[in-house]
């Protein structure tokens, strides 16, 4: 490679490294703000004001969903398998909302430790399979 081309190549590599470095600095400065939600453990550790809107996320605990018979009120527990958070919500739940499925809720943490959600989003995982296969896996534990 002739010297001029080599010089241009080095300049470009420097540009790329600079750009990667700048991106890395931005991303690490944002650090935990890059997360969409907090886990129940993180929320219990932090001192969060009642009026601050936050997002909490985790798995819906098995057998914890209590639906009201005459309204859209629903109460369920979100767990990260270490700590739990009780969520109260009034509204329509997404189709994929279920026990043992991921969920992200937005709302306020009340002083009594419960969470009043104004939005519930279902999180689905990266596994795709036909229903028969899912049944087989469940049957085989």
């Amino acid at each position: 490679m002739n010297p001029l081309r080599k010089q241009r190549l080095y300049a470009l590599i420097a540009v790329l490294i600079g750009s990667l470095l700048a991106t890395w600095l931005v991303v690490s400065a944002l650090s935990e703000n890059m997360n969409l939600f907090y886990s129940p453990s993180e929320i219990l550790k932090a001192d969060i004001d009642e009026n601050v809107l936050i997002r909490a996320g985790g798995m819906v605990k098995q057998g914890s969903i209590e639906k009201s018979k005459d309204s859209l009120n629903v109460r369920f527990t979100v767990t990260d398998y270490q700590n739990e958070l009780i969520i109260n919500y009034e509204g329509i739940l997404p189709d994929l909302f279920d026990e043992n499925a991921g969920v992200v809720v937005r709302g306020n943490l009340k002083t009594d430790g419960s969470f009043k959600a104004i939005e519930v989003l279902a999180k689905h995982d990266e596994n795709y399979m036909p229903p028969e296969v899912a049944k087989l896996i469940e049957a085989n534990g």
Partner: protein, 237 residues
């Protein structure tokens, strides 16, 4: 390949094949994916949107990497054709990124319960879309094509830093978007009768890219060389 008249003749032979192959792969892949592949145990039929969403997202990112490679060649070796290639690929990559954003949104509403959320994966993909827009804007704001090529080449290298962020966003941070189904290190967490048609769709989308890129590049070559004799010869006869 580097010489425009040679490229023009050679590409006219290869283009119909790219088109035919794209149609074959896409029609088999989409027919198989949308009608024959089994439904998902959790999402039902809604998951089938991934046969369009996943290939578009892959293309949106790999076209940008392709453009950065063109940019590098253009800056270091001053190969004119690589600048034209970069310019021709940009609108295609931008379109695929837009398709990925729109289909993702349409998929998000029935599954997550929202059209959009500002999580790391979605936001970084939106940034990629804006980088494409900036690149196209920068190109068209410079009259001298050689200078425009060089400016856009450098921007493509700068913009390359967003690609690893998009790719790793679902692993580094908590997002609403699920982690990757396909990884290099482990077997895919999708059953084979679902990912086989997806593979055909991905190949089909790459072929569409190759086809439209060749088409755009031919126009670009003719446009830039319009005062040359070989172009006059083609269009006078």
């Amino acid at each position: 390949m580097g010489s425009p008249p040679l490229f023009y003749r050679w590409s006219s032979k290869i283009m119909p094949w790219l088109g035919i192959l794209a149609i074959i792969f896409l029609s088999i892949g989409l027919f198989w994916g949308l009608l024959i592949a089994p439904t998902d145990y959790k999402q039902g039929d809604v998951y089938r949107i991934l046969y369009v969403h996943v290939p578009s997202a892959i293309l949106g990112q790999s076209i940008f990497m392709f453009m950065a490679a063109c940019g590098l060649i253009n800056v270091v070796w001053r190969a004119k054709i690589s600048g034209m290639m970069l310019k021709s690929a940009a609108p295609i990559g931008m379109s695929f990124t837009l398709i990925a954003l729109v289909t993702g949104s349409v998929w998000g509403k029935p599954t997550w319960g929202t059209w959009w959320v500002w999580d790391a994966r979605l936001t970084s993909t939106l940034i990629l879309f804006f980088i494409y827009a900036a690149l196209i804007g920068l190109y068209s704001s410079i009259d001298d094509k050689t200078k425009a090529d060089r400016a856009v080449s450098i921007l493509s290298i700068v913009g390359l830093a967003i690609i690893p962020v998009i790719k790793k966003s679902v692993d580094w941070w908590q997002t609403l978007h699920q982690p990757s189904t396909f990884t290099l290190t482990s077997s895919p967490s999708m059953s084979p009768d679902m990912y086989q048609p997806l593979l055909l769709c991905v190949i089909g989308f790459y072929l569409i890219f190759a086809f439209t890129l060749t088409l755009n590049l031919r126009n670009e070559v003719i446009d830039r060389e319009r005062s040359k004799n070989w172009v006059k010869q083609i269009f006078v006869n």
